[in-house]
Point group: C2
Chain length 235, copies 2
């Protein structure tokens, strides 16, 4: 007589999430089968499936065929990182974007780059060094290698005008990306490029992308002092 409403998958997710939060199910515990939950909540199994999928994506539970669903035994803090094109990042912060090409040349890739691409054979790639600026001040110093077999069109791009970062992100969608985040002490070259003192702690983002098995690019972005990478994740 009150509310003949139907449960949405979000309601179901909240229901299950709460039963975990409340301690009813702890790490490693097995949850009832989807069908039984659907039964208990009086909704379709597909609705429970949708809710479970979401909880699995967020890293809270693990699901296995026949094995059932259980609360992750070793919980992780899962967060999603969005790294925009550098020009847009600067502009969204209200800065005036600037860009300088330092140098570009075809070279044989060094060992570390081979490792990043998981390549066994050495080969030549386009090596590009450039500087992104915000309000005229150094923002990110980037050292990039681009696979010419995968992106031959890059030869006809004027890298003095458009950054490789922007061209690649707009024109070369990838199927796999590896990120490595770390800190480094500014060496003389970095200090010079970023206009800071040698030894300053700098935040470094290394990113390697592939399209299927073919390497696209790998880039080491050395950020100016004070740079932060921020995430906000809501369940």
């Amino acid at each position: 007589m009150t509310a003949p409403e139907r449960l949405s998958w979000r309601d179901v997710r909240t229901e299950i999430h709460d039963s975990i939060l409340s301690g009813q199910y702890g790490p490693g515990d097995r949850l009832p089968r989807d069908a039984d939950i659907a039964d208990a909540l009086k909704c379709a199994r597909s609705t429970v499936q949708r809710a479970m999928q979401d909880l699995a994506d967020s890293g809270l539970i693990e699901r296995r065929r026949k094995g059932g669903t259980r609360v992750r035994a070793h919980p992780v803090t899962r967060a999603t990182l969005d790294i925009p094109i550098t020009r847009r990042e600067v502009e969204q912060k209200g800065g005036r974007y600037g860009y300088q090409l330092i140098r570009a040349a075809e070279e044989t890739i060094p060992r570390v780059i081979r490792a990043a691409f998981e390549l066994s054979e050495p080969r030549k790639m386009l090596h590009v060094e450039s500087l992104h600026l915000s309000d005229g001040r150094p923002y990110i110093l980037e050292d990039r290698w681009i696979c010419l077999e995968t992106s031959p069109e890059i030869r006809s791009v004027d890298l003095g005008r458009q950054s490789a970062n922007e061209w690649l992100v707009l024109n070369k969608p990838y199927t796999r990306v590896d990120l490595r985040l770390s800190a480094v002490s500014a060496d003389p070259a970095m200090a010079d490029g970023l206009d800071t003192a040698v030894g300053t702690a700098l935040f470094v983002i290394e990113r390697t992308t592939w399209i299927d098995a073919a390497p696209i690019t790998t880039v080491r972005s050395i950020t100016a002092p004070g740079y932060q990478l921020i995430t906000r994740n809501e369940a």
Copy 2:
């Protein structure tokens, strides 16, 4: 006569993804409606919906009711970060885990902590400093504040034996987490705790969690020299 097979949502996703990769649809372009794609591929609209949802989650497309689906005008590199419990992280790398409580005391939170929690009023919280070790060597130095209203049970935890990190992750699921990643130059206290030289570049992970609107904990993890945070993301 050949293959009367049905398309899976992954097939559909690949189909749409490829049509974007090939340049048929560029940033900002509008894709056909789900129903038309379903029609063209001879599958159910729900299958297209599932594929589209996945592409939207991965940041490639944007969907709006009535507005339709379009390729993201400002593409981002999206990656998922998993941060395990520190003990597990060490053990999975094959190290022997160690842990030391440095100090724990109830204190009024300083301004930066209030800011992290988005609190307007000052209040008291449990302040815990501790050190995680790998094979006897300093691994992560953590400086943590725990909200006692949200987690009163923490008072009865022996923080000399079990780390707050482990207890909280196992016992206090959150509904929101903010991460801030950065680099810092070791000050004397950090250098002492991590057994390194003053000025060394260190990678810092700051994490704040809430359950609904209630603050749980905020932690500043200062990692030992050479620490890297790694991601691997497959489309």
